[in-house]
Symmetry: C2
Subunit: 638 residues, 2 copies
């Protein structure tokens, strides 16, 4: 919560949000027309946005942080940098250098331990190349797109919402823009997120926005699919895409995984891998890229029982929740226990709540500042078409609150879609508390009639009839009856069966992690300047995440001693020239948390060295026979 | 070496190879015409192939191995399986299930430890999406293709060499094919590898080969590029490909890596990542796929000094070498020390030899049978356009000898190509033994003349003149002189400089690992049947590679005891139903090397359990307080 002075300034904005929150709620309760609800939601979101911006601008600035300096460090010490720079570079593509690569590997290894191993998940690795029908079924071919406008003469493309935003921001900076126009523009900006192609087109024509490069007229907004297209094989006819998420690979393997789990539900699958999004004009460094690594978990569970056996372990775990309800009331995020949030139905179910706690624990473990971490619930119209509840783990950075982990209850949407597309049942069995009797209709083939009529093909026809589903039998019977045909070949027979299990399509709870975004947020939260020396910047990375755990700075060259020290792999020997201070600065910059200095005093038996902790610059003298492996595991807060 | 009886049978075939090996050598020595050499090489390779097939057919069969059974096991226990099977599947794409995924992660982790950490390599992670100009420079756009023929009516595509092979093999099985034709066909088969499009076209027309599916006529062989095409961004004009190897990502980052290494050569970069090849008709499981993981090392070294400081460590290491010379003489592979092979110039240089030894050590460490491992040298016409020496680590499997690791000296081809394409110098500096004096030509701008003539643009022109290279200055001077123009604006000035360093374009030594191929070879070499029970198959995986190190089979449910046992992550609890024998069989099948059984005897203090070693089925009773972590590290041979 902000100070009372700030809260006083925010109060009218909070009230303005709540006014429309209440209107939306009322319309929904009374079953109002969709168009009215949609309109009210756009106004609600516009007011929310104004509130959020006011909150950010009134918050005390993060004095220590200077993004330009961080970016310079990351580039200079090759954590990551733009791909193909010698060829002019490609926006939205990044190469990870030795430091970034090691840090990413540590992050992923910790993720695997925290989730896959501790929770006994089934990890899979699926193909990135994905045939079109799979992504047609998942909804990506039809719905995974952004609106784009084109320069009518040059064909140059712009993302429609970005173009409007940039034009308006320029006009707002222009002192000649009259006050009335300013209000209109603020209103457009606030509503931009909720606009469709028609809304954006009318904004562009109303204000006469042109191509920012040529000044030419623009087309109407057209949908641009964000998947990278390709073709498999030589004919050019087998259309495919690079996967936009790793989840679909798990869904199409559902049957194999269920079998691997000996037919038992619930079970959890996970995948670590790359995905691709052909962004129209990516910016913001690692936050919005065209090729990225993600970690996804798909927890398959009985839709009527989403309890989690380990829930008691996280019941009292506290998280900062920004619920849909709070958002509509103009309130801030609130600290709550997971147990209370599930108990009060703020979080939809135990399994979703359990993962939110585990996600929170993980983000803290890898170095996210807990004071800059919240879960924001999607408003109902924000949610993806498949989701029934969704909470984004958002991390506060210099780019604002960014989504790092999406936590969604995808219900049974995906499995049902793939079933519809393939005819392959993607269901599990649930044991009934006691067996029950059900009526089943089966087609009983009239074998002798079929045999005479179809001879060689009879076997095929008998097989097809026998395997018909209940609904098919009924509808075939009806059709034949309606068309006045006599049923010669089969009869529908009604049977009574005792069944012990029920067939269910599982619901899917999905935490989905953006590796690059988490990594960037860690780097921002770890970035420091030495007090009294702003030029000396460094990274206070936790040892578990740091690319290198410890440096060895030899002032004296005691070879035998160095050999003892370097046996272990997380040591990095810096024998570059320069004063010891300069060498410490070099290792601090790349986030090496510990430094061991071998000096002339070390030569005297019993051999000793100096261990320095980068964050505090404290030093301690230790015997060389010390087991230094603790430095890789040490848990400490910056 | 084979038995004397077999060698007797092989002797004439060996002589036949040597005959043409000698002809090729003679032609080369005498500077014969390229067309004659090429012809002789094709005949040489044909004879080599016949010899190799005879060797394989005469070798004692690997009695224990039954590929169908292995494939059944891998599918059933979900090591890996065809991707998108519920959509009909895609050839050449595989999904890794929980067992395959864990095994692959172990393999890659061991690779990282064996190479990246132990050798202090700079690991990078680069983009898979690659702009066309990068792959144009590397030669892949123009040269990375296979010959394909199309059905003239349906447009269906076939790989030309596969089509010819299949047609001929069918005709050879047909008893009506006359003996004379058989000889011709054998000859075509033997020469197929060396054929170009014209050769294959004449075979297809001579024998009237048609589409195997429709019987329609076929087109002439056309080159089909094996890269997957796509476009970046919305305009459709930014052409790109999915990378066909990870190496290019390292080359385009050369400058950043050199800088990271404080400008010092040699240094080594490595990358673990996916690559893609749009095969025309992939078969052979994991051996030939469209999407695969690879590990590549690029060792940048002074082209005039390819010594390696750690070479003494591998000098006496023994490997099986199948040199180009032995291949041309019709001899078998020979065991040699790396030191001798480099000393006798069989292996081109120390660095290449050092890596071959390290590759050999790695393959043995992960479970490749050392008796089924050899290095085969490329014949000069087999080598990629960039390579100057190349040795494939080949592993013997039921598919024959397959290339698992390519070890090439790529010389400075790649860096030079990217320099030509971008104008960005990709060179390092080498300290001269003593400084030397060189003549340098510099353009000295005539500032006052330029200032008066060009006013505002003068600064630009002066800058451009000052930064001109020696050759440019000379050629500009000459051009102006020739055209009779007086040089007003600048004069070329000859300076004498003392230089301490020399600029060099490094050579690149590249070991390149196919992860899927190595994994498949390990699985084949680990596959066993229990003596006396052929139905009971299992995998004798080394603990370091095994997806799970140890199973816990609870017969009695001592909860406290189980909790103690399961703390560690490499344990897998099998509480499925079934007899203890059946449960052992289940865990043996997925290659779990150790099993711990908790039984009724375990309940009595001091608590004890049974540890079983899957390979030998030996059992031993141990106290529960034993530190079981040794099982993950134990080095043992199957």
């Amino acid at each position: 919560m902000a100070s009372p002075e700030i809260e006083q300034k925010l109060a009218p904005l909070r009230a303005a949000v709540k006014e429309y929150g209440d209107i939306v709620r009322k319309l929904k309760a009374e079953g109002g027309a969709k168009v009215d609800i949609d309109k009210a939601v756009i106004e609600l979101k516009a007011r929310k946005r104004i509130l959020e911006e006011a909150e950010l601008s009134l918050a005390p600035p993060d004095a220590a942080f200077d993004r330009v300096k961080l970016e310079d460090l990351l580039k200079r010490r090759f954590f990551y940098d733009q791909s193909f720079a010698i060829y002019g570079g490609v926006t939205g593509l990044y190469d990870f250098g030795p430091m970034g690569c090691a840090m990413k590997a540590n992050l992923i290894q910790l993720w695997r331990r925290h989730f896959v191993l501790e929770e006994g998940m089934l990890e899979v690795g699926c193909s990135m190349l994905t045939p079109e029908p799979v992504l047609k079924a998942s909804g990506h071919v039809d719905r995974f797109s952004d609106w784009m406008v084109k320069d009518l003469k040059t064909g140059e493309c712009f993302r429609a919402d970005h173009l409007i935003k940039n034009h308006i921001e320029k006009l707002l900076r222009d002192k000649k823009t009259p006050a009335k126009m300013r209000d209109e523009f603020m209103d457009v900006l606030a509503k931009l997120d909720g606009m469709d192609n028609k809304d954006m087109h009318s904004v562009i024509t109303k204000y006469g926005f042109k191509s920012p490069i040529t000044g030419n007229d623009l087309t109407e907004p057209i949908a641009f699919n964000l998947m990278f297209p390709t073709v498999i094989g030589p004919t050019g006819e087998f259309k495919a895409y690079l996967r936009p998420e790793t989840a679909q690979g798990i869904f199409v393997n559902f049957k194999r995984l269920l079998e691997f789990n000996q037919g038992k539900l619930p079970f959890v699958a996970a995948q670590i891998g790359h995905a691709f999004r052909n962004e129209i004009s990516p910016r913001q460094g690692l936050i919005r890229v065209r090729e990225f690594e993600m970690c996804e978990i798909e927890h398959f569970v009985d839709p009527n029982n989403k309890q989690h056996p380990k829930f008691p372990k996280v019941r009292d775990y506290k998280v900062l929740l920004f619920s849909a309800c709070n958002q509509m009331d103009g309130k801030s995020a609130q600290e709550t226990t997971i147990g209370d949030a599930v108990g009060e139905k703020i979080i939809a179910n135990e399994t979703l709540g359990y993962y939110m706690a585990r996600v929170h624990q993980f983000l803290i473990k890898v170095g996210i500042d807990p004071n800059k971490l919240r879960f924001r619930q999607h408003l109902s119209n924000e949610m993806a078409h498949y989701a029934c509840d969704c909470w984004d783990a958002e991390v506060y950075t210099s780019y604002g609150w960014i989504e790092c982990v999406g936590n969604a209850d995808r219900s049974c949407y995906d499995l049902q879609q793939h079933y519809k597309a393939t005819g392959v049942k993607l269901t599990g069995e649930k044991k009934l508390p006691e067996p029950k009797t059900v009526n089943v209709v089966e087609a009983i083939p009239n074998k002798s009639v079929i045999g005479k009529a179809f001879k060689g093909d009879a076997k095929l026809i008998i097989g097809a009839l026998s395997s018909m589903e209940e609904a098919e039998v009924k509808s075939l019977e009806e059709k034949l009856a309606k068309s006045g045909l006599v049923i010669l070949y089969f009869s529908g027979q009604y049977l009574f069966c005792l069944v012990h299990v029920e067939e269910i399509t599982p619901s899917v709870i999905e935490p989905s992690f953006g590796v690059g975004r988490i990594m960037y947020a860690i780097l921002e939260h770890a970035f420091r300047e030495r007090e009294g020396d702003e030029q000396r910047t460094f990274l206070a990375l936790l040892p578990q995440i740091a690319p290198i755990k410890c440096s060895i700075l030899p002032i004296s060259a005691n070879v035998r001693l160095l050999a003892v020290m370097r046996k272990n792999n997380y040591f990095f020997k810096d024998d570059s020239a320069g004063s010891i201070g300069r060498r410490y600065a070099r290792t601090d910059e790349i986030g090496i948390p510990f430094g061991i200095t071998v000096d002339f005093e070390s030569e005297v038996e019993p051999w000793t060295v100096t261990l320095r902790y980068a964050l505090t610059m404290e030093q301690v003298r230790l015997n060389v026979s010390t087991n230094f492996s603790f430095i890789a595991r040490k848990k400490m807060r910056n």
